[in-house]
Amino acid sequence: MSAKKNVDGEWTTVIKPKANLLNFNIAEVWRYRYLIQLFVRRDFVAVYKQTILGPAWFLIQPIMYTVVYTMVFGNLANLSSDGLPRILFYYSGIMLWQYFAQCLTKTSDTFVANASIFGKVYFPRLTVPISVVITSLITFAIQFALFAGFLIYFMVRGFSVNPNLWILSLPLLLIAMAALGLGSGIIISSVTTKYQDLRHLLSFGVNLWMYATPVVYPLSQVPTQWRWVFVLNPMSAIIESFRYAFTGVGTVSTHHLAATAGMIVVVLLLGVVLFNRVERTFMDVV
């Protein structure tokens, strides 16, 4: 809702029917930064209260997946891991994919899951998806520490694992994934307020998307005539770049990365526009 200072400064707030479509209102979100902090805290504390293993679950999940994938895709299906130790290969893919998937699915739930709060009190709605991204980022940091451990272990054991200067692109890759997850999550959440079908589609859609992304196989194994599919999938360039940066193995091209960046910007802008439209009236629809 539009909370613009009046030109003559007389009114604090003017509540009007239509808002500007690109009205990010970053200043207002910034004023509510303490709320974002509390949302992040709430999501962390609440999830692991009354569990025995507590925060250990952050690591158990990707480790289990890594074990399963190593057995199924590595040993049984004998898929290539680009010459990398399989644990390193699968763990890195799973860690990145989960970060993205978490941003996406939790953001997509924004309106429906918070309908009861949104219906009773106003605060900038964007604080919710932002806090989701921060929560996922903290989870990622914990998982990344384990990844660094694996990496050092395999380097010491003399495997051909060669981190290089591309490592510096890690923050950019994280921002790109967050932006993509946030953008597509917001698009989905805006649409699901009206069409709840899409929520059912989402859970297996994310799974299918993973198999269309070089998570359990390297991009180098994809036949060249199918490469264009992966150029259209922004996640493939991100995961390949990450693997290349930390292990020296992977397929990275600047064209591919530029296309990816372009797609992410479009998705994010579309998401914010939709979000601004929906946040004003969705309470009449839910």
Binding site: I15, R42, A46, F118, G119, V121, Y122, F123, Y195
Partner: protein
Amino acid sequence: MREIVISVERLSKQYRLGVINHGRLTKDLQSWWARIRSKPDPNIPLGMADARRRTIEGDRFWALQDVSFDVKHGDRLGIIGRNGAGKSTLLKILSRVTAPTKGQIKVKGRVASLLEVGTGFHPELTGRENIFLNGAIMGMKREEIRKKLDEIVAFAEVESFIDTPVKRYSSGMYVRLGFAVAAHLEPDILVVDEVLAVGDVGFQKKCLGKMQDVSRNEGRTVLFVSHNMTAIENLCEVGIFLNDGSVDFIGGASDAVERYISSIRSEMSKSVSERKDSKGDGAAMVSGLRIESIDGRQLQSVPLQAPFALALDVLYKSPQDCSKVEFTILLSDENDVRIMSFQSRLENGALRPRKSMETVRCILAEGLPLSPGEYRLGYSVVVNGLLADKLLNAKVLRVQPARFFESDELPPSFLGRVLWRTRWDQV
């Protein structure tokens, strides 16, 4: 001349009916296909298309229409009106929960709205953590909350449970904590929706006192929505009476209350079929509510404890589809305090319609043991588990004095509305 802090200018809000209930793409396509062939939309709820229900244009209706008023600094404004008159919509727009369709509201200062207490409380977090979370949701800064923490805890009377997760709180403690946070927000404008209807009587008084404090001593502006006319008259000096989405009256609070009560009186004298404020999907509709003697003569009033019957004339949309019909008649006093209800389900189980139009009689063979005066009757009809028709304040029931006790006297009604025979022994 005090300055104007809220200016509502030609505010209108339109809601869509029917379409909002789809939530499925296939149904939207179905509606769209029906529109193309200019067939009736199969997805508009039954009864909504009926001319008997309020101002509806196609599948849209106006919850608020062209509402304008100003609120001055320090005013205590009471907003009253029947259910569906647009009070909640007005508060929602003012709280920025939903956007208006037309018009605008200009506000000076920070608005805190209490449409519900304890919004955003997380059951797993402790009372203390929830105070911070709830305060932040309502726009408080961390330092502000910290400064007020002790005061909030003391006001809510939850000192010993402050580090317990709120999921273990009693509902009373929950409400107290929620109100306490909101009451210490120190907003320039406080918007309160009937939250006071919850909690025990002692705490309700405390809340009213706090609200009086906030407005009288601290000079803040308070907007208060309630069905409790006594609370409105005590707390507010200005009143707005909303009727069918527009302002019917604005002026002194007691004048507004007067106006509201007289409008309810005149509505109740109308026959049920002329009323426009009934709710429900229309699968069954009540076209008349009559007070009758046992042998079917129409009555205006009934003597205390004399047998009589309440007759509902019911019209079913498709009687063969109504496998379970339940009727409820509600009896409340003139302050809208519910005294008793008569439910067909409890006596006869679910009923099935015999014809598409029938009269259902609720027979009170022993009459009512109520002290003489005016009571209000309301009804609801539930068909197959869904509310089909509901109307409160549908009719006035007058109870006339009659001999009840050994002496021919009756206690004054302020000692209680229900009369009961007793025997007194000296042992």
